[in-house]
Each structure stands twice: as C-alpha cells, then as structure tokens.
C-alpha cells in the first residue's frame, strides 16, 4: 500500500521522538497514567486530582529546565534551588517590608514589582555563576557548589532563618488561581517550556551550547564564543531560578531560606530521566516535561493509594536506575 501523505506531515511524523529515549519515556508516562488509573479508577483521573497535579509540578519542571540548560553544555547548576529561594525571599520582602503600601496599591503593580524583583535577583545570581564559570574558569560543579552555599547563606542572613509570609491576593492568584479552567502555574510552565524549546532548538545559542557540551576542545578550536555561551547559559538558568522563586512564594504564601531542600536532587533526577545527557550535548524540553509529568503522576497516584512519600522516593530511584540501564543496553545493542 503506497499511501502518500503530504510532505510536511511525513517530515513532522519522522521528527516526532517516537524512537530513542524520549519514545521510551512517552510510553513510560502513558503506562504510569494507565496503571494509576487502573489502580484507583474513581480518584486518579478526576478533575480535582489532575488539577492538583498541575498546581504542583511546574515548580519542579522549571528547576529541571534550568538543569537541562546547564547540562547541554556539560555543566550543572547546583545553586538553582538556592537562587529560587533567595529570589523568592527578596520578592517577598519587597512586598511585605521594604516597600510599605505596595501590597495595598493596585494589584497588577504589586505583582509586577514582585516579578521584577524575583527575576532581577535570579538574573544577578545567574550573572555571578556565569562570571565565575566563563571568566574565572572555575568548573561549573565547583562554582555552583560554592554559590549554593553563598546564596543559601545570604537568604538565611537576610531572614535570620524565619519565614516571610502574607502576600497580596493578586500574587497568590499566580500560584493558586485558575485561568480558563487551567491552573496558573501550568500556564507559566507552558510559557517557559515554549520559550526554552525555541531557545534550545531554534537559536544559534542553543546549537552552540550543544556543540560546546559535545566537545569543548573542538568548540574552542571552531572559534565558538565559548565564554559568551557559558555566560548566557548560567544567566538563563538564574532567570529560571528567579521565576521558580516567584512561583514558590505565590503558591505557598510564604518564603523560607531552606524551602525545597530536596528539590535540587529531584530536579537533576528529572532532567536525567528526561534523557538529558549529563556529559553534555543532548537533551530535549519535551523529554524533561514528560519526565516531570510522569514522576508527578506516580507521586500523586501513590499518595492516592495510601503509600508514604518514602515509597515514592524508593520508586523514583528504581525508575532512574531502570531507565538508565535500559538506555545503556539499547545503545550497546545497536553499536556492537
């Protein structure tokens, strides 16, 4: 049978990542959804559950995007959660203490002030990382290990370890409201994912970052703007951290220096589960998005089934090892 599809459709079909690790991941995500739906049919596929999932996972997704971006150039940003917390705390302090009357003023103005503060703080943290890595030549894992301590320390010093809470409703809407029946964090996630997909796939920066990650020596000899690419990578990662910080305080109505301390390892786990190569050069926004949705579905399903968070941690670890081993076995079969 010779069915001639239009060229754009055929090409589009071929471009879809059915094969390789993203394909396996899609199957895994569907399997998790099917399995959870089968195990608790009256609760998992309900609107309430799906909605609560869509409120929860975007924070983690944004952090995993930052890890994806830095892993493309074979680096890592260990300071991203600390950046998010510091940005969230600064935004929270602007709203509650440093600018009296802001919270009582016009709502869009307060949200804009918080957003600009968070993004500026995230951008500043990213700039410091970028300078340390691109200019001072410290390896990313060490530079961000240092700034992780530094940013967490600054957040602790500013707040003296206490939580900052009580924000205007307009900001809380960003974390808890619905727009067109869909949770606001999910819209933020979609926007960030779209922007990042364009950045990674459709700009010179994205290509250069991947080339740099594949072979730093070759990239240097090919006269790629290595320092510029590195700097922009960590700046973008910091901005994503700032956005996460804004989302965190909008969702929880409080900012604390040690919030989400387990998020860092989870974000790395999600990025790697999503097919990002920690050695650099490969990773897709779609893969990371699928991984975060799969893990959230697994977590929510487990909670519905009455398992503890600890079972979830156990299964996540098992998942990560299984996926990595399967990917490895698949690769060795193809290249004997």
């Amino acid at each position: 049978m010779n069915l001639r599809l239009p060229a754009w459709l055929r090409q589009g079909w071929r471009r879809l990542p059915w094969r390789g690790s993203t394909g396996r991941l899609l199957l895994l995500t569907l399997a998790v959804f099917a399995g959870m739906a089968a195990l608790s049919p009256d609760r998992f596929l309900t609107r309430a559950n799906l909605e609560s999932m869509a409120f929860q996972f975007p924070e983690l997704a944004l952090l995993a995007f930052a890890i994806l971006l830095t892993m493309l150039s074979a680096g890592i940003d260990l300071s991203v959660v600390a950046t998010a917390n510091l940005a969230g705390i600064l935004a929270a302090l602007v709203l509650t203490r440093w600018w009296p009357g802001l919270a009582d003023g016009p709502a869009p103005f307060a949200v804009a002030a918080a957003g600009i503060t968070a993004l500026a703080a995230g951008g500043a943290c990213g700039t410091v990382n970028g300078l340390l890595i691109a200019r001072a030549g410290i390896s990313p894992i060490l530079a961000t290990l240092g700034t992780l301590q530094l940013y967490t320390g600054l957040a602790l010093v500013i707040t003296r370890g206490h939580a900052v809470y009580g924000f205007p409703d307009a900001l809380l809407f960003l974390g808890n409201g619905l727009w067109l029946g869909v949770p606001m964090p999910f819209w933020l996630f979609l926007g960030a994912a779209g922007l990042l997909a364009v950045l990674v796939n459709r700009t010179a920066f994205g290509v250069e970052a991947r080339l740099l990650g594949t072979n730093p020596l070759a990239a240097t000899f090919a006269a790629l703007p290595v320092r510029g690419v590195l700097f922009r990578t960590y700046l973008a990662s910091g901005l994503l951290g700032g956005l996460t910080g804004l989302l965190m305080i909008a969702r929880t109505n409080s900012a604390k220096a040690d919030y989400g301390s387990s998020y860092l390892l989870q974000a790395i786990l999600i990025a790697v589960l999503g097919g990002v190569n920690p050695a650099g050069g490969f990773g897709t926004v779609l893969g990371v998005s699928l991984a975060v949705v799969a893990l959230q579905a697994l977590g929510s399903g487990f909670t519905l089934l009455g398992f503890s968070n600890f079972t979830r941690e156990f299964v996540w670890g098992l998942f990560l090892l299984l996926i990595m081993v399967l990917n490895r076995l698949g690769r060795t079969n193809r290249q004997p």
């Binding site: 530094l150 010093v157 003296r160 730093p216 000899f221 670890g317 990595m324 490895r328």
Partner: protein, 350 residues
C-alpha cells in the same frame, strides 16, 4: 633527572621540606586555618580552651569519616552522593538488629555489621557504575533514593532511643580528662581515634598499595590505567566498597554521639562533605587529592560551623563564609592551572 642534581646541594631546611611534601594547596588551606583560628582566638580566648578543642575534634569525626570516603571517590574521577543514605541505612539497620538480638551488643560486632552493610550497598553502586558504564552521579542519585526510600518505607521511620549499651559506653568514653571550669571533667572522645585510624588506613591505601596508586591512575586517565594492567572493575568495587564501609562506621558513630538512631539524620549533608573535600584540594575531575588536605578541609568546615557563635556572629553567616572560601580556593586553583597551560588550551573544562 634534572641537570643540577649532579652537584649535591645541601638539603633544604626541614620546614621547607615538610611544606614541599605537603603540597601547595594544603599549605594554603593550613595557612587559612591558622589565620582563622588565631582570629577567633583573639576575639574570644575561649576558643583555645581544652573543652572547645575536644568539642571540635569530636564534631569532626563523622564529617571526617565521610570526607575520607568522598576523597577516594573524587580521586578516582567519580562522585558519590549516596553515602549519607548509606550511612543512615547502615546505622539504623544495625541499631534495629542490636535491639532484636541482644547478643549483638558488643562494639566488635556492631561496627563490623554497620561497615558490612555499608560496604554491600557501596558494592551495588560499583556494580551499576562498572557493569553498565553509567555516570556515577546518576547511579548514586538513584541508589540514594532507593536506599533512603526503601529504609523509610519498608524498614521503619521511628527514632530509636534505646541504643545498645556498648555503643553508649563508647560514646561516653574519654581520655586525657581534665577538670572543666564549670565542674566535672572534659576529655577527648575515644571516637576521635576512629577517625585517626581511618585517616591512617586511607593514607596507607592510597600511597603504599598498588591498588591505591591505581585509584589515582584511574582518575587521571581510565583508559591508560586499564592498559597499564589495572582491573577497573575491581578498583570500582574497592573504591565504592570503601566509601560504603566508612559511611557505615560514620553513621554508627553519629548515632552514638546523638544518643539515638534517627533514620532521617545525615541525609542532606552530601554537598557539604564534597565541599570540604574540594576545599582540601581534591580535584573533582579526578587524579588529585590527599588525606592531609581533606582533614584540613574538614577542620576548616568544623571551625566555621562551631566557632562563629564564639565571635558573636550569628550562625547564619556560616554558609556565606563557606561559599566564599570555596569560591576563593577553587578560583585560585583554576587561575594557577590556566597560567601553566598553553594558549591553545580550551577555556572551558566541565
């Protein structure tokens, strides 16, 4: 080897020889440590009291044991972030076993048991890393979740307050006791000598055994090490087994110091321990690192952790200082390394 060696020059003064053997980075950390201690001591003489010294040494035992394990992994060019989970798991399982079997209540049974559990879990890491050629970061991220989640979900979450009697006696044991100013006596905890023994053992292993030199060789260039005849599989088993073993012992000592076995403890310390080892001059890409440097890094960290209150700074500043020290030390190392490289060298080595 070098042309000037033909005419015998007088041996350099002993202090200089000592410094050379010590390495430049270690000397810099030692200098920083001395300056820090002197500064704190000037601001508050209580820093130099016997009680404070004993307290600092006791606090460095758990961190030091974990750091020695991380040192070996970093030298081999890998990384491990599952060691806190391994420490917590071996500690908790050992204490549970001692509750169930009263005959186990003896130090020479408890410590080998914890070490054996830790080593077994370490071997799991080694198998996954070597058999499937997976990045150590990812494998240990997975096993950390597996071990901690498995322990909390299937073994228990309850904090055990009735530790084996021998363990309590061990934690209370002190030597060099002196009368304390407030009454009673302060002395050096016996557990400090576990760290001394472990440091000596790891030093002997790294510097005086073929396998230890193999760890350095593997960190420098794995393929070259393999062709030189090192069995990388055995080295992996040895390295990760050793990390697990040290983590198991560290976990049990932590429980003894705390007087309870809390399965939620220890986890979360991984990046701090790695920071201490890096501070001590170990290279994160492998091939470089020393026991002396690691112990100095741990000492710096412990002093930062415990002494800021003595000089009237809120403990919140601790992480700020730690971050700055890490950035400064790695920044200088990177600067020095780049200066020795030809202009064609890449500006970026991840």
């Amino acid at each position: 080897m070098n042309p000037t060696a033909a005419s015998p020059s007088p041996p350099p003064p002993r202090l200089l020889r000592l410094l050379r053997a010590f390495g430049r980075h270690e000397a810099a950390v030692l200098g920083l440590l001395v300056v820090l201690a002197a500064g704190i001591g000037l601001l508050n003489p209580a820093f130099f009291s016997w009680a404070n010294a004993c307290n600092l040494l006791k606090s460095s035992v758990t961190l030091g044991l974990l750091a020695l394990g991380v040192l070996v992994v970093l030298i081999s060019g890998h990384i491990d972030i599952s060691f806190p989970a391994i420490a917590a798991c071996s500690m908790y399982v050992t204490c549970l076993a001692a509750r169930a079997l009263p005959g186990l209540d003896h130090l020479w049974l408890l410590f080998p048991l914890a070490a054996a559990i830790g080593a077994t879990l370490g071997l799991l890491n080694a198998w996954l890393i070597h058999r499937f050629q997976l990045p150590a970061l990812i494998v240990t991220l997975g096993t950390a979740g597996l071990i901690r989640g498995g322990m909390l979900a299937f073994i228990g979450t309850r904090i055990l307050t009735d530790l084996p009697a021998s363990l309590i006696a061990f934690a209370k044991a002190q030597i060099f006791e002196r009368p304390a100013p407030g009454g009673g006596t302060v002395g050096l905890s016996l557990s400090f000598f576990v760290l001394v023994a472990a440091a000596a053992g790891v030093w002997l292993f790294l510097n005086r055994t073929v396998a230890g030199r193999g760890v350095y060789a593997m960190g420098g260039a794995p393929e070259a090490a393999r062709r030189a005849g090192f069995n990388l599989g055995w080295l992996h088993a040895l390295i990760h087994g050793l990390v697990g073993l040290l983590a198991g012992i560290a976990g049990l000592i932590h429980a003894a110091h705390m007087r309870n076995a809390n399965p939620f403890d220890i986890v979360g310390i991984e990046l701090t321990v790695i920071a201490a080892v890096v501070l001590g001059g170990a290279s994160i890409t492998g091939g470089r690192g020393s026991v002396a440097g690691t112990l100095l890094g741990v000492a710096l960290l412990v002093i930062l952790n415990h002494s800021l209150l003595l000089v009237g700074l809120a403990s919140e500043w601790q992480k700020v200082f730690l971050g700055l020290v890490i950035l400064l030390s790695t920044g200088f190392t990177a600067r020095g390394a780049r200066r020795r490289l030809p202009w064609t060298a890449p500006v970026y080595t991840p």
